[in-house]
């Protein structure tokens, strides 16, 4: 057996022995997602699964082992993903630390910063949020105004952030602040601070889903040590752009069916309208819509695999995450539209026990933000047109 084949069979055996049965079921609602942090809200099986995976560095399989990673080669990391998918294992940890800050720290952080933060991210001990958008800086992010005044060994930060996902639940924030007004993109710095710092407050924003995953975040004379600045002063835009690529990569994963076994879309449709005598969905037009959607979803699954492979090999076009983000989020919206159509009036119940607290309706409404957050679909298309297709400005 080749080394890779051995790794694969050992990995499968380990997953079978260590992945709790609850962690092999489909993700049905937000509660099924594990975020870790200082005050974790674990569902049954989540803590065991997180700790088992973190003990091998497999929450971040391809990070170096000295930072809490698994030190796996691209081929091994791929084999792990495939074996997890084959057993319907859920993602052990959802984390902006893993998908966004971590890659930026690996590229731009000092050795001390990496050793300080990365292992805690890998173990899910610190939950991070992202302070990018401001009330007047959304798609035009570089016009942000939150200020960081030089006060010797630290900055004094003042201003407001908005759409800060889970700011009220996060332990630390990675944040863009203005350290100079001389140039729009050239005067931004990238800093980290504890959300428990004096002067930080958050206020949830109630959304159409009835939930508040997003917050407003206010900074009132917050002291941030300069040692917490990543990369050079006034060069935070480089870090931000790099991180945005990883954010788009993460969000594009939404177009794939959620981890765990089964296909909620198809199961839901069968439960709602039933099968006819030939074993086909009794609503032929719904069946056709779902089937055509599944073609795109599976093709996008191949695209995601290709994208990860190219990324790991350093072969992906730097603007490719924009295409992935655009396609994946539009697909995810389409999936939830179909799920609502399949569920009919059952799926519309907002609070009942049968509807799991309106999980389907709330998830459907939540997806509408997919093509807005992390850069709108229109911004992604602009980027593809200019940077990949080379169309004129």
């Amino acid at each position: 057996m080749t080394d890779l084949a051995t790794f694969r069979s050992e990995t499968r055996a380990w997953l079978e022995a260590n992945c709790p049965p609850e962690m092999r079921a489909p993700v049905r609602s937000d509660k099924d997602i594990c975020w870790g942090g200082r005050n974790p809200d674990f569902q049954p099986g989540q803590r065991e699964w997180l700790e088992a995976m973190a003990s091998r560095g497999w929450t971040v399989p391809d990070w170096p082992t000295e930072y809490g990673g698994g030190g796996l080669s691209p081929a091994e990391a791929k084999a792990l993903r495939e074996e997890m998918a084959a057993l319907h294992c859920r993602n052990p940890l959802n984390s902006f630390g893993i998908s966004m800050l971590g890659p930026a720290l690996l590229k731009y952080g000092t050795e001390e910063q990496k050793l300080d933060h990365l292992p805690k991210i890998a173990r899910g001990e610190i939950r991070w949020c992202q302070g990018y958008s401001e009330p007047n800086a959304g798609s035009d992010l570089a016009s942000l105004a939150a200020s960081a005044e030089d006060a010797g060994d630290h900055y004094i930060v003042n201003g407001q952030k908005v759409w800060t996902s889970y700011a009220d639940k996060a332990d630390w924030i990675f944040c863009l602040v203005r350290t100079s007004k001389e140039s729009k993109q050239g005067g931004i710095s990238f800093v980290l601070f504890d959300m428990a710092s004096e002067g930080v407050s958050t206020k949830p924003i109630l959304l159409i889903s009835g939930y508040s995953p997003f917050c407003e975040t206010f900074m009132d004379n917050v002291r941030v040590p300069k040692a917490n600045r990543i990369y050079d002063e006034n060069k935070g835009w480089d870090v931000a752009k790099y991180l945005l690529g990883h954010e788009r990569e993460m969000i594009s994963g939404m177009g794939l069916a959620s981890a765990g076994g089964g296909n909620p879309l198809i199961e839901g449709a069968i439960a709602a309208v039933g099968l006819d005598a030939n074993g086909r969905l009794a609503d032929p037009l719904l069946r056709a819509s779902i089937a055509m959607f599944e073609v795109r979803a599976r093709a996008f699954g191949a695209m995601s695999e290709r994208f990860i492979d190219e990324l790991k090999a350093g072969r992906a076009h730097p603007a490719q995450p924009s295409m992935m983000k655009y396609y994946g989020t539009e697909l995810n919206k389409a999936r939830h539209e179909l799920q609502m159509a399949a569920g009919g009036s059952d799926a519309l119940e907002w609070e009942s026990g049968a509807s799991n607290g309106g999980a389907a309706a709330r998830a459907w409404l939540r997806t509408k933000a997919n093509s807005i957050e992390g850069g709108t679909s229109e911004i992604q298309l602009n980027i593809v047109a200019k940077r990949i297709l080379d169309l004129p400005a």
Binding site: N263, G279, R280, A288, R296, A302, R315, Q380
Partner: protein, 375 residues
């Protein structure tokens, strides 16, 4: 295995790209079309394909071929698609070679295919839309079989040396069992072949078999168990057609994007208009997703994976959708010139329509996926 072309596959692609663009660009198709060429493709080009080793790309090395996989065949087919090159490569070097693999017919026909002498055609379709049912009958007769019935949409049949025919040897039209594949040698047996010019100016035939007598040794594989061979043929044909579609869609997109950068209206290049940029970027996304689906299917086929069948269905359906979008957007974004015969973009639209229909369209494959998924 990573989901991108490795170095050797990339080298093959570059070779195929240069060769086909030089010898069979869209102007080659146009010249054949204008001459109303009765063959529909260039015999000389087929010989050159042989000299390049392309015709033996899927033939095992032990039988003097290149012994390469579906991925490599697809690399060549994509360039054929991009250049709209009329060629019996898909039917002969990909689908027929796959069907004959490991049978006595391989020894008989592979040398001619390798040499660029032999052309194969696939008599599979019996009605306007591809379906699984087979009603053309093969009845035992003397030392062999008598074929009765009709086939249609048979590319290259009018010049084929070998016609592979799917026939029913027992059971009812919709049965999976009772199907047998026959290798009809057109030198010794002569069905009634009526070539028709299609919209893309290729030629496909309606064939009538009126008690055509065949020897027993014309059976490919086993009597009544031909579905397995047929499915292998179809998987190769579908993944190949998907690769060719990818080339057609990619070629149309390249033409369109180039036009957006060159054409001026209102004093600006039209490619600077956001309405068109967004449509072009969306088209790019659809084509990239289709490309990934095709490579995935080819890799799984080469690995002999049980998941290959569904991946091939996804690839054929997705390339049908994406390439249809590409040629439609191509004509629309070219404006009036896109409607003219003088300009090539319309040729892409016609070829895409033919390939999208071949071996089952997007609806057929989406339906197949749904059935396999239990709904």
């Amino acid at each position: 295995m990573p989901l991108y072309l490795d170095d050797q596959q990339t080298m093959l692609r570059d070779t195929a790209r240069d060769f086909i663009a030089e010898h069979a660009p869209p102007s080659h198709l146009r010249a054949l079309r204008d001459a109303n060429d009765p063959t529909g493709f260039s015999r000389d080009l087929w010989k050159q394909f042989a000299e390049m080793g392309f015709t033996g790309i899927r033939i095992p090395e032990a039988q003097s071929g290149m012994g390469l996989g579906h991925v490599e065949a697809g690399v060549v087919l994509e360039e054929i698609g991009r250049n709209l090159s009329p060629s019996p490569f898909l039917t002969t070097a990909v689908a027929a070679v796959e069907a004959l693999r490991g049978t006595a017919h391989a020894d008989r026909y592979y040398p001619g295919i390798l040499a660029g002498d032999t052309i194969a055609a696939l008599a599979i379709d019996e009605r306007a839309k591809f379906g699984d049912g087979i009603s053309l009958t093969a009845q035992r007769s003397g030392n062999g079989f008598r074929l009765s019935g009709t086939k249609q949409f048979v590319a290259h049949a009018h010049v084929a040396d070998l016609i592979l025919v799917a026939a029913r040897t027992s059971g009812a039209e919709s049965d999976q069992d009772g199907v047998t594949l026959f290798a009809v040698d057109s030198k010794t047996a002569a069905p009634d072949i009526r070539p028709e010019r299609l919209a893309d100016s290729s030629l496909a035939s309606r064939i009538t078999f009126a008690d055509l007598q065949l020897d027993a040794d014309s059976v490919v594989g086993e009597v009544d168990n031909g579905r397995e061979v047929l499915n292998r043929l179809l998987a190769a044909g579908r993944s190949g057609a998907s690769a060719e579609l990818l080339g057609v869609g990619g070629g149309a997109m390249d033409l369109t994007v180039a036009y957006l950068k060159e054409r001026k209206q209102f004093g600006q290049t039209i490619g600077s208009f956001q309405a068109l940029q967004h449509r072009a970027a969306h088209l790019y996304a659809e084509m990239e997703v289709a490309r990934a689906a095709v490579l995935k299917a080819q890799q799984l086929l080469d690995a002999g994976s049980a998941l290959a069948g569904q991946a091939v269905a996804v690839a054929k359906a997705m390339t049908g959708l994406a390439t249809t979008l590409s040629v439609q957007e191509g004509v629309q974004m070219h404006g009036g010139i896109g409607m003219t015969d003088e300009y090539d973009i319309g040729f892409y639209m016609k070829r895409a329509r033919v390939l999208a229909e071949m071996f089952g369209d997007a609806n057929y494959h989406a339906d197949a996926l749904a059935r396999e998924s239990g709904y």
